[in-house]
């Protein structure tokens, strides 16, 4: 267990380091240093003193590798640079914006899971073939409607015509619901697709036939057996979904005119405030890595077979299987590696 955990943590740190380095290369090391150009731009709105502070902070007179080591050292101390417009630390700018976005993405995650689960169950269990066929089209519909169009329609019909929700963010829970559902749709499409495929595969397995033969009802089998057996691929996808939620909040916050990390990004890009953009990218990479680590460690709690060795014998030492980790992908419904299932539209 400890060995496996250590290896996964080292891997996670490496991915983070690579993501940080990639974003540094993109933003700082390209010909014609983007940060320097921005500071010297006539419309930067910076006082000469601010300019000096920034030039000194980023050490722009030094060679690139020295700037990089400097920036990396700061990143290890939790510093992500200074904003080029307000000369405030990027971390505190993100800190101000984060709570609102976390509320939005948190509720969106719940909304997305509930929606996806409902659709997946409808696809497999709805009475009547036509209803199942109709439900089968829903994930494709979700994936084809851009977030900003959903937002526009919701604002128009639920807010201005039906007066169900406030049109601006007044901090209330009611104002959060519509944006969260809008954002939840982004992840609901691939989740529903994967979950319904997984349910279908599970229902074809012999143990389900045995349960049927013993007289168990469809609902009982789903709750007790099928649900748990088919939720592993969904869990894998959830790890990816969290990053998509952060990216999706950019558009959602713009449509509903909400404050948050998404608005911070759009403002930063509009003002060419590159360190802020980099900060949010690194943050989302952190979220991705941490969520995936948690997901990986959660597998055995859902499917204890993962702790069982390849020969079917229980791992006698009771350790986490360091050398022969059996990820859920390798069991049964093998997917070509690195590819989403064929008809999942990756947002």
């Amino acid at each position: 267990m400890r060995k496996y955990l250590a290896r996964r943590v080292v891997q996670a740190v490496l991915v983070l380091w690579a993501a940080y380095t990639l974003s540094f290369l993109l933003l700082s090391a390209l010909p014609g240093n983007a940060i320097e150009n921005r500071i010297h731009a006539p419309d930067s709105g910076l006082t000469p003193q601010d300019g000096q502070v920034l030039l000194h902070y980023y050490g722009l007179d030094k060679p690139v590798w020295e700037q990089y080591l400097h920036a990396l050292g700061r990143a290890l101390h939790g510093e992500l640079g200074l904003s080029l417009t307000s000369v405030q630390p990027v971390t505190s700018l993100i800190g101000y914006a984060l709570p609102s976005t976390l509320r939005l993405t948190g509720l969106a995650l719940v909304a997305g899971i509930v929606l996806a689960g409902t659709v997946a169950i409808l696809i497999n269990y709805a009475p009547g073939a036509w209803l199942r066929g109709l439900a089968a089209g829903i994930p494709a519909l979700f994936a084809s409607v851009p977030t900003f169009v959903v937002g526009i329609l919701v604002l128009q019909y639920l807010s201005f015509r039906a007066h169900l929700i406030p049109p601006v963010d007044d901090g209330s829970f009611r104002a959060l619901v519509a944006p969260a559902i809008t954002l939840g749709l982004v992840i609901a499409a691939p989740l529903a697709q994967v979950f319904s495929t997984s349910i279908r595969t599970t229902r074809k397995q012999p143990f389900v036939h045995v349960l049927h033969a013993k007289g168990a009802g469809e609902g009982y089998i789903f709750r007790k057996d099928v649900f748990r057996n088919s939720s592993l691929p969904v869990l894998t996808l959830l790890g990816l979904a969290f990053g998509e939620l952060i990216a999706g909040s950019v558009v959602t916050e713009a449509v509903y005119a909400r404050a948050g990390v998404g608005k911070l990004v759009v403002d930063a890009v509009t003002n060419q405030d590159l360190p802020v953009v980099q900060g949010v990218v690194v943050l989302s990479a952190v979220a991705y890595v941490v969520v995936n680590l948690v997901v990986d460690l959660a597998y055995p709690f859902i499917d204890p077979r993962i702790l069982v060795g390849r020969n079917g014998a229980a791992n006698s030492k009771g350790t986490w299987p360091a050398g022969r980790w059996r990820g859920p992908r390798r069991r049964g419904q093998a997917q070509p590696q690195g590819l989403p299932p064929e008809d999942v539209v990756v947002p």
């Binding site: 690579a18 990639l22 066929g133 998509e244 990216a247 990004v265 070509p336 590819l339």
Partner: protein, 304 residues
């Protein structure tokens, strides 16, 4: 397999879709016509989807055929007219005809999406074939870079590239293309890996062909085919992403008509003049739905 609306995968439809008369004696004209009609009825949603895509492509190539008005001509006397027989989608705050702007906007949006997919295919297959063919260090280096790119949410990565390149439809198309090239690189890599162990590549090697010639003549053409359904899916995604970037003000710049930009302009008047945002928005939905439906049909054809 998913489908949009029920009837098109019904057994009758599938049976009628099979070219049952092919190879048999030439049937009568009436019989063939009947078969064609039956195929059309069985694939109604597909036909509609193809018609929508064809219409939008015609809009993009020959906008003058579909509207006689100028997309940027300002006419203050006719501002904020609701949809009518004369102005199908209504007019905006400068009195510009919205339908005309949607028609001309299709050129901007579709060109952007085409550039994005082309960039993704070219960059992705270059990286993927190098990684798959040469293996070793090149493979692990490219593989790690792809892993890192995929660990950053795609849309956020595209925004970062836009922040570097500046705003504009081509910059955002390039950004979207570079972002999705990672997905293509992965697919092409696995295809090239498979092709490189095949008999025909072995035969080419033994007959003395050069590495580059083998890649160009044998490996890449054989690895490209499986990406067709991914290309169509990516085309739909590119339309959405480019429209979203424009909606945020990071893509096409006014007064250029572009679908996402039109929705964003209409967003300001959503309370009282809802048609301004809704019609361009629904256009995007219809086009992307159609493209995704066609793409699912292609991948279904390949897998069955």
């Amino acid at each position: 397999m998913t489908q949009l609306i029920g009837p098109d995968l019904s057994p009758e439809g599938a049976a009628a879709g099979a070219p049952s008369t092919a190879g048999s004696f030439p049937a009568g004209l009436g019989k063939r016509l009947l078969a064609a009609l039956r195929w059309l009825a069985g694939h109604l949603t597909l036909v509609i989807a193809i018609a929508i895509v064809a219409l939008v492509l015609l809009w993009a190539f020959f906008p003058g055929l579909f509207t006689s008005q100028n997309p940027t001509a300002v006419n203050p006397a006719e501002h904020f007219l609701p949809p009518s027989a004369e102005h199908w989608f209504g007019t905006d705050e400068f009195g510009r005809d919205l339908y005309t702007r949607v028609v001309y906007g299709s050129r901007t949006s579709l060109t952007g999406a085409a550039v994005a997919v082309a960039v993704a295919v070219v960059v992705g297959s270059a990286l993927g074939s190098v990684a798959g063919w040469f293996g070793g260090f090149a493979d692990s280096l490219i593989g790690r870079v792809i892993d890192v790119v995929l660990s950053i949410p795609g849309f956020l990565f595209a925004i970062t590239i836009v922040a570097l390149l500046g705003f504009g439809i081509f910059q955002s198309a390039l950004a979207v293309g570079l972002t999705s090239s990672a997905t293509f690189a992965r697919l092409i890599r696995s295809e090239v890996l498979m092709a490189s162990t095949s008999n025909y590549v072995e035969a080419a090697t033994t007959s003395g062909a050069r590495t580059f010639a083998i890649l160009r003549r044998h490996v890449i053409p054989n690895s490209i085919a499986p990406t067709f359904s991914l290309v169509t899916v990516q085309f739909g995604i590119a339309i959405i992403w480019i429209a979203s970037l424009s909606f945020l003000g990071l893509g096409a710049q006014p007064p250029k008509p572009e679908w996402g930009l039109l929705v964003s302009d209409g967003r300001d008047f959503i309370a009282s003049r809802s048609w301004l945002a809704i019609w361009p928005g629904l256009t995007v939905v219809a086009v992307v739905l159609s493209i995704n439906h066609i793409s699912r049909h292609i991948s279904r054809g390949r897998s069955s």
